[in-house]
Amino acid sequence: CKVDHCTRQFQQAAMMSGVRRGPSPAFCVILRQYSDCLRSTARSCRGHLAYHSTITLVQNWNGDFNCSYIGGGSAPAPLPIKDNGRFRNHDHHSTSNLHAAKMEDSYSNDKTVTSSSAERTTSLEPTARVYVRPEKPLNSLPITGTNVVMEASPACTYQGRPEVTHCSFYGD
């Protein structure tokens, strides 16, 4: 599994071009190369934790920074996320459902469990969304080995009305 090799390539390319992470064509191009590299080693990375986490991360960045629309080559195939019994594509421009389905295979056990638990929750709808803390500088990408940082659990986030209220009890 060459996930570390792909990550090093990505970091070097980012550092040499001086591009910052964000919705820019230059970053999308580098992200696209990174995604291609990861895909090329997919077969040997079946079940490799860091690989699967990295793939998810790259796809989320692709979505966060709209690389499918900004350009930088065609977008990496999105991972369909099962939501309430329906497959919902993260990105409407998926290149091939079959390819995505294959990728789906490599995750399906985890995601399905989460989603099905979503199906069982009451009115509080969890989301199946993973995203990263944006302020991390590019050169300290938390992608290698066990050093993966994910920001929010894909399930169990309050989805009701955002209006909040406060109660406090203090003093004598």
């Binding site: 929750t121 509080l124 659990s153 986030t157 209220t165 003093g171 004598d172």
Partner: protein, 275 residues
């Protein structure tokens, strides 16, 4: 204690003993209050119990208990977080895991200040020990907070204190005596202290001017200024000014538009300068 309800009512209550602040299908918070000065109706909180109710894959049952000089940074079962882990994260270090689960405790100041985050409820709960007593603050989505509002039963945060338990802060601050609650001290009266080292010593409530000077040091405004003065004039214990300051800062940090809800009043009720 001073209560700010979910509806934004500011009340001062006796409520000696154990009382429920929040009690709905998702969350239960109860407090135990003891008289701060014998002979006075004023009480303060010495114990807080919080139960995050289970019932779904997302919501692990967790119970938290805090008492004076015992504000742990863990639930009663010793855990500091709970709930399902996101797929593929089990290999992460525990310090990273805590950020990913629905329920977790954050130790803000060991033994003094903890925050409990229940992401599946959108809730943040704050427990502090200030001086010899505890304080509590909560931020909840309105539809969670109002859940069960129509039901029978007490929920001080939802319905406020029963009328029989309310104390009129103005009678103390105005010091008019007229309509003053018989057990309320006018400024400068003496009470036998339970909180000082030598129980036999007498507590002298602060005078209005001394209380105002101390409360002003914390830039308190509006009701928080009144409650601070009430506490200092009742007990003479300066730590209550810090408690009011912490309560105001929690209010400002937990509610996005809190600053607009507080009047920028820097004179207490009834003071000549409060034009």
């Amino acid at each position: 204690p001073h209560l700010v309800t979910f509806n934004g009512d500011f009340q001062t209550c006796k409520v000696a003993g154990a009382w429920p602040l929040i009690d709905n299908a998702y969350l239960a918070v109860s407090v135990t209050n003891e008289a701060v000065v014998p002979g006075s109706a004023a009480t303060a909180t010495t114990k807080i119990t919080i139960i995050i109710k289970g019932g779904s894959d997302c919501a692990p049952e967790r119970t938290y208990e805090a008492a004076v000089d015992s504000v742990p940074a863990s639930f009663v079962d010793g855990s500091q977080w709970g709930g399902p882990l996101p797929p593929g994260s089990s290999a992460l270090p525990s310090s990273a895991l805590e950020h990913l689960v629905p329920v977790r405790i954050v130790d803000k100041e060991p033994g003094r200040h903890v925050e409990i985050h229940a992401r599946h409820l959108g809730a943040t709960l704050i427990v502090r020990q200030v001086g010899r007593y505890l304080t509590f603050a909560a931020k909840l989505p309105r539809d969670i907070a109002q859940q069960g509002a129509g039901r029978e039963g007490l929920q001080l945060c939802v319905k406020g204190c029963p009328a029989s338990e309310r104390i009129d802060v103005a009678t103390v601050l105005l010091g008019t005596g007229h309509g003053r609650h018989p057990s309320m001290p006018s400024s400068g009266r003496f009470y036998r202290s339970q909180t000082s080292e030598s129980p036999s010593s007498l507590v002298k409530g602060m005078t209005r001017d001394a209380a105002l000077a101390l409360c002003r040091e914390y830039n308190l405004t509006d009701y928080y200024l009144d409650s601070c003065m009430f506490d200092l004039m009742t007990t003479g214990d300066p730590s209550f000014s810090l408690a009011a300051s912490r309560a105001q800062s929690d209010y400002l940090s937990l509610l996005p538009d809190a600053a607009y809800r507080l009047a920028n009043r820097t004179w207490p009720l009834g003071a000549s300068g409060s034009s």
